[in-house]
């Protein structure tokens, strides 16, 4: 996987039409590259932002913590994502964005993004589309957390990440990095750590999925996707 801005271009080309001059405009964006250690925050709930970030390598996640201390992970962001793109218009963020593992991000000032969008108005449509797909992922996630079994929820998160990583050349055969801990998975799926652990063990015993040390391997896509009731249409990859 490339660890520069090309990963953003690959992502945007996967969700819509990206003309060469628009790709060039993205390449010309001034970006400030930063390394973020595992667990460190990129953006904190309540911050007022003047820039957004693109994930260049590693993984970020958005999360919120209840006053009683319980944490919900809202979304995982592999390379190519701009997890805080909303702050371009909603400057005061209402979530915390942290590094799931050691990651490299590219910080882009909002004024640079605005200047680019003035020059390349069609990119506004593409970023809008990206934001809508982000919302579509939340709809699917809400349904899963409310209605799906523990096994289906677990299977689904792996099916989704595999599908999203594939379009940015982030998978190697059936193997891909998912640097989340079991605690992260439990907090994302709304289940206890022990339940998440047992669910993963069950999927391994059923020869559908193997997950260890931040590496996932899909052992049987057809059965895993069927268990998850996974239908990738909500990701809107190249369906324009």
């Amino acid at each position: 996987m490339t660890s520069d801005i090309e990963v953003l271009i690959a992502k945007l080309a996967a969700i819509g039409r990206l003309h060469p001059q628009q790709a060039e405009a993205i390449r010309n964006l001034p970006i400030q590259v930063a390394r973020i250690n595992r667990g460190h925050d990129v953006v904190m709930d309540g911050n007022i932002m003047t820039h957004s970030c693109v994930v260049l390598s590693g993984m970020l996640h958005r999360h919120k913590t209840m006053k009683d201390g319980n944490r919900q992970i809202l979304s995982f962001h592999p390379p190519g994502d701009i997890p805080d793109l909303q702050s371009l218009h909603l400057r005061k963020v209402d979530y915390t964005l942290s590094a799931t593992t050691q990651s490299v991000i590219g910080l882009i000032e909002h004024k640079a993004i605005r200047a680019m969008l003035r020059d390349q108005p069609a990119l506004t449509d593409l970023l809008w589309r990206d934001t809508l797909i982000d919302a579509a992922q939340f709809l699917t996630w809400m349904m899963l957390i409310g209605q799906a079994s523990a096994e289906a929820r677990m299977a689904h998160i792996f099916c989704e990440l595999y599908t999203r990583l594939k379009v940015v050349n982030g998978v190697s055969g059936n193997t891909f990095p998912f640097p989340a801990t079991q605690t992260d998975l439990a907090d994302a799926l709304g289940m206890s750590i022990v339940h998440a652990n047992r669910t993963l063990q069950a999927l391994r015993a059923e020869a559908m999925l193997s997950f260890a040390n931040g590496q996932a391997e899909i052992l049987d896509w057809a059965r895993l996707a069927s268990l998850a009731q996974f239908d990738s249409s909500y990701l809107h990859l190249s369906d324009e």
Partner: protein
Amino acid sequence: MPRFYFDLYDGANFAPDPQGVDLPDIETAKDEATRTLSEIAAQEIPGDGASRLFRIVILDETRSIISEARIDFRATRPAPGNSAPADSKDNHDE
């Protein structure tokens, strides 16, 4: 962090935990067992209303039992002849 193992018994089915989970202390392990039992019960019990017994046995790193939690579900219906509307065959049945 110490490692704890959570063996699950679902009726006569025994699902041992070969892998275990690292947790800060025994209290956290007990909370995890309680939450896991309630999550498994919430998912499994709505099935056919039959009685179900779920148990989680917590083991420490030496595989000695340190705690156990259980959910024992029983659905009861009034005995025949009771006035409660149990299992009634109403005329709007097909």
